[in-house]
């Protein structure tokens, strides 16, 4: 889910701090940020009065406003990013408020570069990528305030120090509040050398349990999401999209729709041709009206027939058959260590299993929407997006406008999970606004969102291991037949498609010496994309289930087998996202912790058991222990969940806990019930009655989370809490019932198996 893979990246300007300037606000405050000269025309004339682009504003009353460049999708960046700045600026957290920055890109000779550093929520990178940079911003401002005080007092800057909000000179017994220094600091140059950053032992804000900064706005209904945005004079639009994958409009009768009160216009929206890259997902018919409800009623009154497209015969059953057939042949070998064939041939025992992972829908609670105002020479977009630069590109593709004239504002986002890395709904809104020559708010219904998505890829995994008779695994292969997420990406070569499906340095690479990894592409017309922790969700399920299967087959304990495979603390190479190395011992540490907490070794009565699993995801480490009871008729009760994460240095313990709880529940929800199926080229699910997200009643009360910090730099946290839940659960189910779940979602498989 790393932005650089999911979209052609903006070129990140590593010297981005050189853009920083100090300046004065209209009210006499101190501003540290990006000069207006670097702002595009649309932004500079924005109603926010030239405040755009700042990272730090110190107000005359000593309040501090910190700008957040990253999109907030519920991962907590509007809290954690400013904590990094405030720490080095040295201010009281209670004096800090937050302002969302818009997309910042700057035209260069050969394209565009970032103005505020990379902006995007993907791959759990906000905290880790901005760890040095945002602390540097805070430290720069603090240096300038100290410099201002030193000049006023006529002392060297080295004799000045800060306490929250004040500069102090002990020798003179003088102190000045930041606000009193703002005028002077604003006139000073930015230091040539970035000031030294604090040692972690000096942190006052980083590491403190810090609540969501927007909590009060959220609980009072004031927080603004994309769906709450307005543009003056805007119309409301919905689209009836073709229900057949890559189908088209065959006939359209809009006479009844046009008679619906409030309906203003009806017209076709052209989708991509089969096989072409997706600018939008589907061909459809747009209905524009004076309100959302009028547009929905107009859409209901449309009479459309559709051509069934090239995938009219596609079905989920056919998909699995095809995947199974592919696995009987030879695929693309993407890793081949040692001599797998020889090692397997000489093994005393061979264990083999296949695991099935379905397509799933992102289902963020806020359905897709976008406000767009396309003018002749400029565009204004307000969108809930994870990738604002992608929104800018989408609008440029639709309108032909130069990107520097496309102003993209970000709102809070009602859930991302990877869905809003793709800006198809922004492109649709731009198409409609351009066509009607007026601002528009495009609204998707829940049915639109479930039926039209870039679904998490579906795949059939085959694992096989050879053992030497003394409990050592000597050969290992992972063969995956899947519908890859790089489908229809213009920028990915066929031979590189596998890289989004199998991360070849994942465990047990570099641990089991004879190891072979193979990929097979299963053709499918289902659109695919990044879904929280992308391939890690599928691969952790397959690999961590299989480790248990190997352990049971060889008479080994699953925990002990993992601990011996992970081994001593050491860095192993990891070239995929989250590298360049990882330390499998950190997984051992987590596993030992959750095993102890759940009392792993305690004998339990028949029908009750625990299961464990662990996984390294994009730089962070996660582990789960789950205790279940399986009744005689296959009734499953999840009695207890213990989750643990190691995300390096912890910036905000409350944020980490929220992500770990939420990731675990996401894992549970998905493992238990969620799948998207296809019949006759149509997605079968449509809303929450047949795509059943987990409710509160299904989350065990006995649920604990543990954070095990490591080292002095943070990793991300958005995705690490999810992948190991499903295999821990199915391992527990096996231990309790003898039923091995090899197919997700679990649904009623236990009842069927034990009936």
């Amino acid at each position: 889910m790393r932005p650089a893979h999911s979209q052609p990246a903006e070129r990140v300007d590593r010297g981005r701090r050189r853009f920083l300037v100090g300046g004065l606000t209209a009210t006499g405050g101190f501003l540290l940020g990006v000069p207006l000269a670097h702002l595009n025309a649309a932004a500079a004339t924005d109603a926010t009065g030239g405040k755009i682009g700042f990272f730090i504003e110190i107000k005359p009353d000593n309040h501090v406003v910190i700008g957040v460049a990253q999109p907030e999708i519920g991962q907590g960046v509007r809290t954690s990013m400013p904590m990094l700045v405030a720490e080095e600026l040295d201010v009281e957290w209670s004096k800090v408020s937050i302002s969302q920055m818009p997309l910042g890109i700057v035209k260069t000779a050969d394209g565009f570069t970032w103005k505020y550093g990379g902006q995007g929520a993907g791959g759990s990178t906000s905290v880790s990528d901005n760890w040095e940079f945002l602390r540097g911003v805070g430290a720069t401002a603090r240096h300038m305030l100290k410099d201002a005080a030193a000049r006023r007092w006529g002392v060297p800057i080295q004799s000045c120090r800060t306490e929250p909000g004040v500069v102090i000179c002990d020798a003179l017994n003088e102190r000045l509040g930041y606000a009193e220094l703002a005028l002077d600091a604003a006139a000073l140059p930015i230091p040539d050398e970035p000031p030294a950053l604090k040692d972690p032992s000096e942190f006052r804000i980083i590491g403190q349990a810090t609540r969501v900064v927007d909590a009060r706005d959220i609980v009072t209904g004031k927080a603004r999401y994309g769906i709450d945005a307005e543009l003056p004079g805007m119309r409301y639009a919905v689209i009836r999209r073709c229900p057949y994958l890559d189908g088209d409009v065959e006939s359209l009768d809009d006479s009844a729709a046009r008679k619906v009160p409030g309906v203003l216009d009806v017209f076709r929206i052209e989708g991509p041709k089969p096989g072409e890259p997706y600018l939008i997902l589907a061909t459809g018919v747009a209905v524009v009206a004076t309100s959302t409800w009028a547009a929905l009623e107009g859409r209901k009154a449309l009479k459309v027939t559709w051509t069934r497209g090239p995938h009219a015969q596609e079905s989920t059953d056919a998909f699995w058959n095809q995947a199974g057939e592919l696995l009987s042949g030879e695929g693309q070998v993407v890793r081949n260590d040692g001599d797998f064939g020889q090692a397997l041939g000489s093994a005393k025992q061979v264990v083999s299993a296949r695991y099935q992972v379905p397509f799933v829908n992102h289902a963020p609670m806020e359905p897709q929407n976008c406000c767009a105002d396309i003018r002749e020479a400029s565009a204004h977009i307000i969108a809930p997006t994870q990738m604002p630069s992608g929104a800018s590109r989408a609008v440029a593709a639709v309108t032909g406008l130069p990107r520097e004239n496309i102003h993209v504002e970000m709102t809070r986002v009602g859930g991302g999970f990877g869905r809003r890395l793709t800006n198809d709904y922004v492109a649709e809104a731009a198409m409609i606004s351009k066509k009607i020559g007026a601002p528009v708010k495009l609204q998707w219904s829940r049915e639109d969102d479930v039926r039209h998505d870039f679904y998490r890829p579906s795949g059939l995994h085959e694992l096989r291991a050879g053992l030497d008779g003394e409990g050592h695994i000597t050969a290992w292969t992972h063969r995956l037949a899947s519908a890859g997420k790089y489908y229809r990406r213009a920028d990915v070569k066929p031979e590189e498609q596998y890289a989004a499906e199998l991360y070849v340095d994942d465990f047990p690479a570099n641990i089991i010496q004879n190891l072979r990894v193979e990929w097979f592409e299963v053709p499918s017309g289902v659109p695919r994309g990044s879904w929280r922790a992308p391939a890690h969700t599928a691969n952790a399920f397959a690999v961590q289930s299989f480790v248990d299967e190997v352990a049971h087959a060889a008479g080994l304990d699953p925990l002990q087998l993992r601990l011996s495979l992970y081994g001593e603390s050491r860095e192993l190479p990891y070239e995929q996202h989250g590298g360049p190395t990882y330390n499998p011992f950190r997984l051992s540490r987590l596993l030992s912790h959750v095993a102890e907490r759940i009392d792993y070794a305690r004998p339990r009565p028949p029908g009750r058991a625990v299961g464990i699993a662990s996984h390294f995801t994009f730089g962070g480490y996660g582990a789960h222990a789950v205790e279940v009871v399986v009744g005689g008729n296959g009734e499953l009760s999840i009695e207890r969940i213990v989750a643990a994460v190691d995300c390096g240095l912890v910036v905000n313990p409350l944020g980490v806990t929220a992500q770990l709880e939420g990731g675990t529940i996401d894992g549970l929800s998905t493992a238990l019930n969620l799948e998207i199926t296809v019949e006759k080229g149509q997605i079968q699910q449509s809303n929450f009655h047949n795509y059943r997200l987990l409710g509160l009643k299904d989350v065990p009360v006995d649920f604990e989370t543990h954070i095990l910090p490591w080292g002095d730099t943070p990793t991300g946290m958005g995705e690490m809490g999810l992948p190991s839940l499903a295999p821990a659960l199915t391992n527990a189910i096996f231990n309790a019932s003898g039923v091995r779940i090899r197919k997700l979602p679990i649904k009623d498989q236990l009842r069927k198996a034990l009936a």
């Binding site: 907030e72 999708i73 519920g74 991962q75 907590g76 609540r211 969501v212 927007d214 909590a215 009060r216 959220i218 609980v219 009072t220 209904g221 004031k222 927080a223 603004r224 999401y225 769906i227 709450d228 307005e230 009160p261 409030g262 309100s291 959302t292 409800w293 009028a294 009623e297 289902a363 963020p364 609670m365 806020e366 359905p367 009602g414 859930g415 991302g416 609204q443 219904s445 829940r446 049915e447 929220a658 992500q659 709880e661 939420g662 990731g663 675990t664 529940i665 996401d666 929800s669 809303n687 929450f688 009655h689 997200l693 987990l694 409710g695 509160l696 009643k697 989350v699 009360v701 649920f703």
Partner: protein, 155 residues
């Protein structure tokens, strides 16, 4: 013309009577705290109080509201500087992640505490049918218990 009250203010609506309250609140009254999630009354993001009872605004036709009393998330707090105990508990337990479902959750929880000031975990599980995609349920449960405690302090 349908006349009713929203957050103790008299309002009227003269559009189509089958318009769901959700869209009347959002598009016409610009009260956007009530959220659209599913449109079929399954997720609870649009939960409001009608005559004190939690209802789904997405499946409530505005024509059914004549003379009735609607309270939205914007009107739950007794005043601007005094929040409802459920709102306070939500902040103190740091419940929200993306926050989109939370207005509906809070309205649903406020109703629960009105009829059952000291709910058990089972009572909470039975009443809180709203969906949260971020998975904030663990903290929602804690916040309802905390709000229950706050309510008893007030009494």
């Amino acid at each position: 013309m349908i006349e009713f009250t929203v957050n103790n203010q008299a309002v009227s609506f003269d559009g189509e009577g089958n318009t769901p309250l959700l869209w009347v609140l959002r598009d016409h009254f610009r009260l956007t705290g009530t959220k659209f999630g599913c449109g079929i009354g399954r997720c609870g993001a649009c939960t409001v109080h009608i005559d004190g009872k939690a209802e789904k605004a997405c499946t409530t036709e505005v024509s059914s509201l004549a003379g009735r009393r609607v309270t939205t998330i914007e009107g739950l707090a007794p005043s601007d500087d005094r929040l409802h105990p459920v709102q306070i508990a939500w902040i103190e337990e740091d419940v929200p992640q993306c926050g989109y479902c939370q207005a509906g959750m809070i309205m649903q929880a406020a109703e629960l505490l009105q009829v059952n000031p000291n709910p058990s975990d089972d009572d909470i599980a039975g009443h809180m049918s709203n969906l949260c995609r971020c998975g904030t349920y663990v903290r929602i449960r804690k916040a309802i218990h905390r709000a229950s405690g706050l309510l008893q302090e007030v009494v």
